[in-house]
């Protein structure tokens, strides 16, 4: 099998038994998410286990494309029962970049299955196919950076980094790639992240806490092996074609404000928008990437930290000091050293500050804390705050459960979700793109198991018009053109998928938008491993007529590395199959249609949008069609209608071939997809229609 090593590592942490499975037995699932969900389904007999139960099994799977020269494909997927979602611990996925995916394959494995729980702290050392479970007592309590440094020295030995060293199969000068948790994960935080290198994280899902519950501190991989592809010459030609025709030219960049936010465009370039550090000096990238979106700084603080890694404390730093100081980078690093999910911190701090301002939280207040909220923006505050969260001290013991559970402990959940001051939006995850405006984002999240975090439509549907229009600039692609391009996509061929007018947001068209997003992302991004920062690529200032590389690029890449020519429709059908296997697990966990809804404020409180241009009112510009005419129009203020949302759910379930009354799958549809095993298990549990 091209792109595969042929072996899946299976580690039982309870018994310390190490074994392997043959990747060829899972050939149809390719790699990444497809392979991971198939393994989870087969190996976990009781899928209703809790996140911290030793029966929870985690599968870590490098993406199918990883290890090869395909750009922006060094992603690793992890699945299992998550700790973050509220009120249910849904089966979920999380994803990380960096070096791990490639190095895992070079070390000999297409996936790593982690079962059981170790009796005492353990780390796993994998070098060229050799696997060793090692006592991690000396690492327990160390932060993620120090842990990696100790493991680097352990694996590299006396030769030192940057010198040739022999393994049993080859020679290398490279460091191992290490996944590790920090103190937050050790203390079973639902905000616990798994970190690799300086700023790459399995962030969402609270899987760091799950690792902690398994006494698993770290996994190190080092390999000298190869990844074979069907046609190296073709892959080289395609890579160069993609870079030269769709990639950014860093020596003559085209500057648009929305390119400062590298979300799903292949022509993204290094920039200061996502990495706001004044002392940024270099752009760095994951293995094989062409985007290189991560910063390196002259101080080292903030290295590899982008978006919320920096943003979560940036505005507090700015408010306190009138400028972004080195504290932003320090805070970014500290969260990652502790192994805490920065995304949740971002919204969490705003909520806690609101409670502080209301006089509810603070020293001697109802929610009593010695964390100095009057010093937000300073080092002193963030040190105390993150330490309490990571080590479950003071109110950190509540916050580390995630804000919805903390609010519940404080007796505030109902009040604060009705008012919307606690901006949890989908399964307790913080608001990301607001479902009251960018509806498909919330829809895909709520029929899934987490903040969907798929930016595929996000450039034309939000960033480009919402930054350009208030700034009196004309977007480089019209709303009508965007709709036309999306309308050329199988299987729906429906331009109305891009119509975000209020009259269209509960329609079958928006059900198609949601389904397309889920099927595309599951196959191309989470399984093949194309990075969400680069794909899907609809609008691209470097492409012909400003059009992106999707779907031509994806299909060319697939053909070069596998030798198989597939149609785009086939790829989306594979994504649909994988999504259906996710769905079967959720149903086996107890999911029912009635559970899939948003907090009250989504149905009663308007979102106002954001003001990006000083003096301009907040807005949220999206493609809409009104009176037969396409344009980018401001869709806010807006909130969702609960009854109409329920009607949308019916349309979505019917589109997926699911029972609209329960949201459960149907035997016939699962059989057609080749998911007979899932159908049998659902039937045995009485959850198949």
């Amino acid at each position: 099998m091209y792109l595969c090593t042929g072996k899946i590592l299976r580690v039982n942490l309870t018994t310390k038994k190490v074994s392997t499975l043959n990747t060829s037995d899972y050939k149809e699932w390719l790699g990444g998410h497809g392979l991971a969900v198939a393994l989870f389904f087969d190996l976990v007999k009781d899928k209703s286990v809790g996140a911290f139960d030793p029966g929870n099994t985690l599968v870590i799977a490098p993406s199918y494309f990883s290890g090869s020269l395909i750009p922006a494909a060094c992603r690793t997927e992890m699945v299992g029962i998550q700790a973050q979602s509220y009120p249910y611990e849904w089966f979920s996925r999380t994803n990380v970049g960096g070096r791990f995916a490639n190095m895992c394959k070079y070390a000999g494995f297409d996936a790593i299955v982690l079962e059981g729980a170790a009796e005492k702290p353990t780390w796993i050392n994998i070098v060229d196919g050799d696997v060793e479970l090692i006592d991690a007592t000396n690492l327990w309590g160390l932060d993620t950076v120090d842990t990696q440094k100790v493991i680097f020295k352990n694996v590299i030995g006396s030769a030192g980094y940057g010198k040739w060293r022999a393994t049993k199969k080859g020679e290398t000068i490279q460091r191992p790639s290490v996944l590790t948790i920090g103190p937050a994960g050790e203390n079973r935080s639902r905000l616990g992240a798994v970190i690799t290198d300086a700023g790459n994280a399995f962030g969402q899902g609270g899987f760091g806490g799950v690792w902690g519950s398994k006494n698993l501190k770290a996994i190190s991989v080092l390999g000298t092996g190869s990844v074979e592809v069907a046609d190296p010459n073709e892959l080289m030609q395609v890579r160069v074609w993609a870079e030269k025709n769709y990639g950014a030219n860093v020596d003559n960049p085209k500057i648009n404000a929305w390119q400062e936010f590298i979300t799903s465009h292949f022509g993204g370039h290094p920039n200061r928008g996502w990495a706001p550090f004044d002392n940024q000096r270099r752009a760095s990238g994951c293995t094989g990437c062409h985007l290189n979106c991560k910063p390196r700084t002259s101080s080292g603080y903030g290295n590899e930290s982008i978006c919320v890694d920096a943003l979560y404390y940036q505005n507090w730093d700015l408010a306190k000091h009138g400028k972004i100081t080195e504290i932003t980078g320090y805070a970014a690093d500290l969260a990652q050293r502790m192994g805490i999910n920065s995304f949740e911190l971002h919204t969490e701090l705003a909520y806690l500050k609101t409670l502080y301002d209301k006089g509810v939280l603070g020293r001697g207040k109802k929610i009593d804390t010695d964390i100095p909220f009057d010093k937000m923006g300073e080092v002193e505050f963030i040190q105390q705050f993150l330490t309490q969260v990571a080590f479950r001290k003071g109110i950190g013991d509540d916050i580390t459960e995630g804000i919805p559970r903390a609010a519940e402990r404080w007796g505030r959940y109902k009040e604060d979700t009705e008012s919307g001051i606690m901006a949890a939006m989908f399964w307790g995850y913080p608001v990301h793109y607001d479902t009251r405006a960018e509806v498909y984002w919330g829809y895909a999240s709520i029929v899934g198991g987490r903040d969907i975090n798929c930016h595929d439509f996000n450039v034309p549907a939000y960033w480009m018009p919402s930054l350009d229009i208030p700034a009196k600039k004309t977007p480089i692609v019209t709303a009508e053109q965007v709709a036309k391009w999306v309308g050329e996509m199988p299987p729906y061929y429906d331009p109305e998928m891009m119509n975000f007018a209020t009259s269209n947001i509960y329609s079958v068209h928006m059900a198609r938008t949601t389904a397309w997003l889920l099927h595309y992302s599951t196959f191309w991004k989470q399984t093949c491993g194309l990075c969400d920062n680069a794909f899907a690529d609809f609008v691209n200032p470097y492409g012909p007529d400003n059009r992106g590389i999707t779907p031509e690029g994806e299909l060319k890449f697939f053909k070069a590395v596998t030798g198989r020519k597939i149609s785009f429709e086939e790829s989306l059908e594979m994504g649909r199959k994988m999504h259906n296997l996710n769905k079967a697990i959720w149903t086996l966990q107890g999911r029912h249609r009635d559970m899939e809804t948003f907090p009250d404020y989504v149905f009663s409180v308007d979102t106002e949008g954001t003001s990006y241009v000083p003096g301009e009112p907040p807005s949220y510009y999206m493609p809409t069609k009104e009176n037969g005419k396409w344009d980018y129009r401001n869709v806010v203020p807006r909130h969702l209608d609960k009854n109409k949302f329920e009607e949308w759910k019916t349309r979505y379930y019917e589109l997926e071939g699911w029972d609209p009354k329960t949201g459960w799958q149907k035997a016939k549809a699962l059989k057609e997809l080749g998911l007979d095993k899932a159908a049998s298990e659902l039937k045995a549990k009485g959850k198949l229609k």
């Binding site: 680097f152 030192g160 190296p232 080289m236 270099r282 752009a283 700084t297």
Partner: protein, 229 residues
């Protein structure tokens, strides 16, 4: 605030190169020479007469490199048919925790004027050869006996010549004169795929460390908010 970067990585290519080169030169010329180190070019001149000069070189911008290792994946693939960090003839040494510019180093063969690897090869002109047309120093894998003498002789750390443990042959940059898995003429895979344009081909012999490590950052780079100095 000070940043703790205390791991076992050496401080930088420049210093490492210099230290090893100095040691080599000092050993060759006697202890006294260590006090007045000759330049790299001077050392090269002493032996240049025995090796015809190369007309093909790679120069790199260490400050522009993103550490993405695309060059390594491409290099190994076009030469060996599969991506492999260990068989890449160009190596990236990346420390994500270090401060710029000490975080990334590009280790690339310099096609030296005094090719110590060439002199050290017991099968000189059969295994380690000089292309008569281009002057490129390359390894004929069919003749290589895997003695490692070229690896040990290389002036630099890490050695710019790697070793394929499976086939017991040395691997070295050949400026992509022979890419059995990539149909092309006159291009270098690393140059073609580098998204940062941080590797550049030149036919002019760089005369020293500074000329191999060039500044390829211009106005466009500055527009991205990144330094050009």
């Amino acid at each position: 605030m000070g940043k703790d970067n205390g791991d076992n990585k050496n401080s930088g290519m420049t210093r490492r190169d210099f230290v090893k080169m100095s040691t080599t030169v000092a050993a060759a010329l006697g202890g006294a020479a260590a006090l007045t180190l000759p330049s790299r070019a001077d050392a090269a001149d002493a032996k240049a007469q025995t090796a015809s000069p190369s007309k093909m070189f790679l120069v790199v911008d260490q400050k522009k490199c993103a550490g993405c290792m695309s060059c390594m994946l491409a290099c190994s693939m076009v030469h060996e048919g599969s991506s492999n960090l260990s068989t890449a003839r160009i190596q990236i040494i990346d420390d994500a925790f270090a401060e710029f510019p000490n975080d990334i180093e590009i280790a690339v063969c310099r096609q030296c004027a005094d090719p110590a690897c060439y002199y050290a090869c017991p099968l000189k002109d059969k295994a380690l050869c000089i292309d008569p047309k281009t002057g490129v120093r390359y390894i004929n894998k069919k003749e290589c006996i895997g003695c490692r003498k070229c690896i040990e002789a290389c002036h630099f750390t890490p050695s710019r010549i790697s070793f394929n443990l499976k086939y017991k042959v040395a691997l070295k940059c050949d400026m992509c004169l022979d890419t059995p898995f990539w149909k092309q003429t006159g291009k270098q895979a690393c140059v073609e795929v580098c998204p940062q344009n941080a590797i550049k081909f030149t036919s002019e012999q760089p005369s020293g460390h500074k000329e191999y490590n060039v500044n390829l950052r211009g106005e466009g780079w500055a527009k991205l908010g990144l330094p050009t100095d």
